[in-house]
Structures are given as C-alpha cells and as structure tokens.
Symmetry: C2
Subunit: 441 residues, 2 copies
C-alpha cells in the first residue's frame, strides 16, 4: 500500500465537524463501524465515522452514490457486521474508501448537485447506538512489548524475567471471544481462586488486583485456508484495520492459575474494544521502521524477516490511558492521565504476528481479532498496565485529587485513547475505549 | 435427569441395523449430527444416527411425524448446525428424542400405519456427507486427568511434575476454534520453531514430535449471560452432549513456545472431532461416582463441590486409540490398539469444568466446545498420548507388524473410538474420530 489521494492533508469535508481541531475522525480517517439508529426498528449496519457523524453506507448505496468496485464493497455494508467487507481484501475496501472520500470532500460534485444528501446519508453519532464491529470467530492475544514482558516477568519470575524464547517467538495465546464487549459496557469485578500465602489453601473471592492492559486490536481481513501459512510479505494484505483493546486482567487469579497452560479466567471475564476500526490504509502515513534490536539480540528467523517490514512495519500510534474514579465523577473532575505509550516500542510488528500465527498452517478468518499485548515502553509513564505502573502495588499511583490506586476500585472507569500525528498529515484518531468497573455479584 | 423410557434395553427399532451387535447407534443413543445427501443441491441439516442410517428430522417434520415440544425442537433441525437446538436447553431436546424414539421403535404406530416413511425419513450413511455439528464460537481445553498432568509434568518439569494449583483449579486454556475439523479430514504436519539444544538457536522445521491426545469433547447447550456464573448444581443443564476429540499436538513446538502463556501453535494447526454428538441424556445410565480423591488431597472448593455431582458426576466412557500406518494400509492390515482408557479416571467432572469456567462470569454460548484434556489413567496402556505411551520417545511402541513409533509418521492414521457398556443397558457408542497425517507443505 502507498500514500494516495485519500491521505492528502488539504482534504476538507462538507461535514463541518470533520474539521474540528483534534477530531479523531477527519475525512482522511473514515474508520468502519456498525451502528443502529436509536429507537428505530431496523437492523444494525455498517457506517464510517466522520467528525461527529456516521456516514450510512447503505443510504449511500440507495442514493446511487457508489459505483463499480466501491458499490460491490458497499453492498457488504448492508450487513450487521463487517465480516463480509473484511473478507474482500484490501483493494475493494480501498475503492470504497476512495469513493466515500470523493463523496464527502468539500468539492464533492454529488454534494453540490444535491446538498440534501447530507440529511439522507448522515446519522448524528448521538442518535446512534454502536455495536461490535465484527463477529469475532477467534481472538488471539500476543505479548509483543519486550518492556512489558520484562516488567511482568520480573514480578512473576524474579530469577527469570525474560524467558529464552522471547526474542525468537512472538509469544501469543488464544483468548476468549465470547466476552469481548464494546466500549461503554460495564465490567463486573470477577470472583476467582486467589492464594496470597503459599502455605494456605486458596480462597474464593472477588479479585483484589483488577487491572487494565492497553493494547492495539488488529482485525483480520481476508483469511487463509487451513494448512496455508501467510508469508510475511503478504501479511498486510490480511489486515483489515485496528482498534483499541483493553485486556482486563485479574492479577491474583492469574498468578495462581497460569501454570502450566497460561492465563484463563484471569482474562476471560471481559475484553473491551473501541467501536471504530481504523483501516491499515488510513494508517499508511504513520508507518515507521520496525523496532531496532539492540546489538546482541538475534535477528528474526527467516519467516519473520522481510526487509520492507523491517523498514516500515512499525506503526507510530500514540496510546493514552485515563482513569476516572467514582469520586472524580461525583466532583465533576476530569479523568486523569495514568500512562502514555507508543506502538513503536513493540518488539514484533503486526506482520510478524500474522506470519507467526499462521506459520503452522493455522487459519485466520475474516473478523478474527489479534491483540498486540500490552503496549509498554521503557519509561515508567509508558507502562501500559497498573501492575507495571505501581510495580505490583509497591508504588501506588497518587492521583491529583488526593486519591491513590494500586489496582482498580469499583466505580473506576478506564478510558483509552489512541491517535497518530505527523507534521504534514491529518491527525488520525481511534476514538475511545471505555469501561467502568462494577462490584462483584 | 433420570432414566426414562428411551433408555430401556428392550427397545428395538424397525431400522434393522440398529440391532447389529456392537453397533454404536442403537435406538437408545440417537446422537445428533449435521449431514448433507451426497450429490444433492441442498443445504446441510440436522439428523440423528440410527444403525447405519441417518434419520432426517426435517423429513420427519414435513411428514407431520412430530408434534408439540418435539416439533418445536425439531424445527431447529432444519438449520445447517445444531446451535439453535443446543440453545433450547435440555427439556425440548429430551422431548424430541422421546418422540423420535417412539417413531423409530419396533412397535411404532406411525411406522406400522405407513411403512413407506422408512424411505422418506431415512438416509443411508453411505449416501451422506457429514459436517461439523455446530458453529463453535469458543473452544476451551482442560487438563482434567491428574495422571496425564503428572506424566507430562514430569517430562517438562522433572522437579515440579504436579504444580501446586492442580488439585484446586480445574486447569484449562483457550483453544483455537477455526482449526477444528471433522473426523476424516487430513492433518498436515505443522512447521514451527524447534530448539532441541538450549545452546543453539531454534530452527524452523516440520515437527518431529507429532502426537495425538484423546479427549472427550463437550458441547455447551444453553448458554449463560456474561457476568452470571453457572452454579455447579445447574451445570448439567448447560451441557448438550459429547463427542470424541483429538487434540493433535506438536511436542517440540510446544516445549519451546509454551512459557509463559501456554500452548499456541503446538495445538492450533488442527483439532479433530467426531461427527455425532451423544446427548447427556443418552449417557445417563453410565453416570458413576466422581473421582475419589485419595487421603491427603484437598476437598474441591465449595463452588466445585456438590453432593450429587460427587455421587454421579462421573461418566463411565471407554476410550480407545488405534493406529494404522501407511505400511498397514498397503498390506491391508487392521489398525492396532495403542491405548485404552476410561473417563472415570478424570480428576474433575464435566460439571466442575463448567462451574469453574463460568465462575468469573465468563459467558458460554450454545455450540461452544470444551475439551476434557487427555484422558489418561494410572496404567501404562491407559495413557492417552504418544508422549506418555513412549515416555517422550524413550520407550518406542513396538507394533505387531514389526514397525515402531515414538511419535507419528506421515501417513499414520489415528482412529479414536468411544463407547459405554453396562449390564442391563444398551451399548452407547460415539462412532469414530479419524485423522491421517500428511507431509508438511
């Protein structure tokens, strides 16, 4: 993929809110999601976000505003999930985005011919409910930040923080698809087996170490047949786009259960994702060099090594985590920033994750979701989970209003934001991924 | 659930092959599956196995042979998967099985009124293709045999064979749903990272330690909402039925990748299941006491302990694994038995697995699949995987025809069989779960 007309910073839209400074959704973004107009008895369908509006692609089709390949791709948007569009692969999606870009830009011929289309194809976000963007067949979660692996490893295995496989294997595990919920869904504090004292029997209690993990979610586009690995040079063609992902974690459940088969109930109670899927095409201007391995680290094995991926397989996405406690809500205080990181700190590229995942022949299907693993960088403020920020509770976070946190309290809301910025290019935002903790049952 | 009219050993069917001695599918079984008549341009639909025939439930409906609750449940069988029927919960399924039992038994009024229904509702198995019985949203794999955990643990962690959590936590992990295939599907030998020598870099090569694991697969019936655990006393109501499951495993990939997040590519290349789902109702006569924990073992924690489950939560299912090598096929030699085990050796009951899985609020959905974990017992011949049978290759299996095996060779076919037998009751069979290894790509 390369830069094209849809990336031009000069593009403006006749939808005025798309030009609001700091907007997540300028015309250069056009992320896909699934919405339903509130109070209408109609099935959810696919739209794209633009400013504070949703462009209803079904309405665009019905108005005859899409033609050719864009129309073919657009027909998949009548469905209540993105899977069919994802399955088409990058070219049809690109054609659809290009046509939408032309339709929605300030100089749009269609709009100037008939400005009334604004009322017929736009749905204000406040009049819509969002849904999960895809039916997620399988969800796989990786561990691609070496700083996160080292931080957590040093707490769980002080003598063995970074295991010998880390620099060779893009470590991942299967996650739970059924409990993936949309931003805004409340998260119930899970109950589970805890054992603080190795001399005692475990107890069953609500987790005392409830945590978030900020990750990038990656939606698979076109799938691969079982038995046919995706070579790293083809990996990008199988990526539809990205969202924000909160891999909620119960650390005390995790430390007791995770040996020898990995995390299970410590994670499967909820995973929250943001509603808008930012296409890989929209992220194109923010491609950067892959993580530069320090001297002494091994080169990636051949199936994970491709020159172009090394040169531009990184994605410069900035990620922020905000916390709003119940007290802050009562006092109408703003959420406070608790960490900020960059996806450039990841040891493995998304293409490497795809190539590794399928290297044994495992089939990915359209709509499958990959989590990147917690995005942590080397600085303390870039650590993407509370267990890292507070060093397992040793160094509580002191909040500006006098409160402090080691792990999450009931009523705490975690708000994740992500965006890309680069001089000469429009800001591409991911919107928000929110979730509030409610007390255990 | 309790014994009812459908369990009576005296019942015979007007379908003669149902009475064949040793048949898997007498009228007392009536397992559900999805089939399509070969060469017909029609959608797959649900049927039940009876002798060497498939009872086409859609045809039964169209013939007006089902009424009331059985008809309501039967309407779900027009679909190409069992999910809708599974979602109904146990009573409608029981009503459908009872009606089918009455329709198909020797003294059936409907049959004697019109013997021509035989041609209209039966499809010979040899004229049908079978499909995966359900759309499997999530697949979770457990580790419920303490003998298996101890055997494998002592190879991977000689100093620490059985971890401290084992007797408290029904250990499980998320598996890969996309690569679950039906019995008869060829399995390609996966390629992956291997590291035999800790002093060397890993290499990428086809696995040299390809193994099977015999497990019981458990299909979820009615689901639970996210955030609402299933109490152990309700667990059976959420189980639709069981099948055989082969959890193919690449041991060399596994030992290198599995720390710290568990098995991933070592398993996700293929999991094979048998096509017919034996209902929990059909297994009712084979309920036995749960595993009796030896003195010194802790009691299950309260959420895993229910008197009725302790008294009759075990299932006396016999499981056999046969191997047929390429040489045996060339010489027309029969497959050889390589292991036989009993599900009664499992440390945790199926109800305990369900209660544990949902104890954190994780939602199960109709059609979700649980694997029991390898079924191994204390005797050498009851070890349910080659790594255990050959003690990681140290003691090769000597086959009767002069061949030997440490792990699986290309061309090897693994055939799993399962059945229940008890004096005074009809034999309930699971049919077969087959898969042949084909060379790496």
């Amino acid at each position: 993929m390369a830069l094209n007309d849809t990336h031009r910073v000069e593009l403006a839209s006749w939808v005025e809110s798309a030009q609001t400074p700091g907007s997540s959704f300028p015309i250069q973004n056009l992320p896909f999601g699934v919405f339903k107009r509130t109070g209408r008895n109609e099935a959810p369908r696919v739209g794209v976000a633009l400013g504070d509006q949703i462009v209803d692609i079904t309405a665009c089709l019905d108005e005859g505003l899409l033609a050719g390949a864009a129309r073919t791709a657009g027909e998949c948007c009548r469905r209540p999930q993105l899977n069919d569009l994802m399955a088409m692969g990058p070219e049809p999606v690109s054609a659809l985005r290009r046509s939408l870009s032309e339709l929605l830009r300030a100089e749009s011929a269609a709009y100037h011919r008939d400005p009334g289309i604004a009322h017929r194809v736009l749905v204000p976000m406040y009049e819509a409910e969002l849904r999960l963007p895809a039916v997620i067949g399988d969800y796989s979660d990786f561990y691609a930040s070496i700083d996160h692996a080292r931080n957590v490893g040093s707490m769980f295995r002080p003598n063995d923080p970074l295991l010998p496989n880390y620099k060779y294997v893009p470590i991942g595990y299967h996650g739970r698809a059924s409990s993936i919920v949309l931003s805004g869904t409340q998260v119930r504090r899970p109950t589970g087996q805890l054992r603080d004292d190795p001399e005692q029997q475990p107890i069953v209690a609500p987790t005392r170490r409830l945590d978030y993990e900020i990750e990038l979610g990656v939606f698979v586009g076109a799938g691969n047949p079982l038995g046919s690995p995706i070579p790293i040079m083809d990996a990008d063609r199988h990526i539809f786009g990205c969202c924000l992902l909160n891999d909620w974690s119960a650390r005390d459940i995790q430390s007791w259960e995770y040996q020898p088969l990995g995390p299970f109930l410590a994670k499967s109670f909820a995973t929250t994702i943001s509603p808008w899927v930012v296409t890989l095409e929209a992220l194109e201007p923010f491609r950067v060099e892959a993580y530069v391995r320090p001297d002494g680290d091994p080169q990636p094995l051949p199936y994970l090594l491709w020159d172009s991926d090394q040169r531009r397989g990184g994605l410069d996405i900035r990620l922020e985590v905000y916390l709003r406690t119940a007290t802050m809500r009562q006092r109408s205080q703003d959420p406070v920033l608790v960490s900020r990181g960059r996806f450039t700190s990841m040891y493995w590229t998304v293409a490497q994750l795809i190539a590794h995942h399928t290297s044994n022949g495992c089939n990915l299907r359209p709509g499958d979701l990959l989590g990147s693993g917690t995005v942590s960088g080397p600085e303390a403020e870039s650590r993407g989970s509370l267990i890292e920020r507070t060093w397992r509770g040793r160094d509580p976070l002191r909040l500006a209003n006098g409160e402090s946190r080691t792990f999450l309290a009931d009523g705490d809301e975690i708000i994740m934001r992500g965006y890309c910025e680069r001089p000469g290019f429009a800001r591409i935002g991911f919107g928000e991924c929110r979730g509030m903790i409610v007390p255990a049952a």
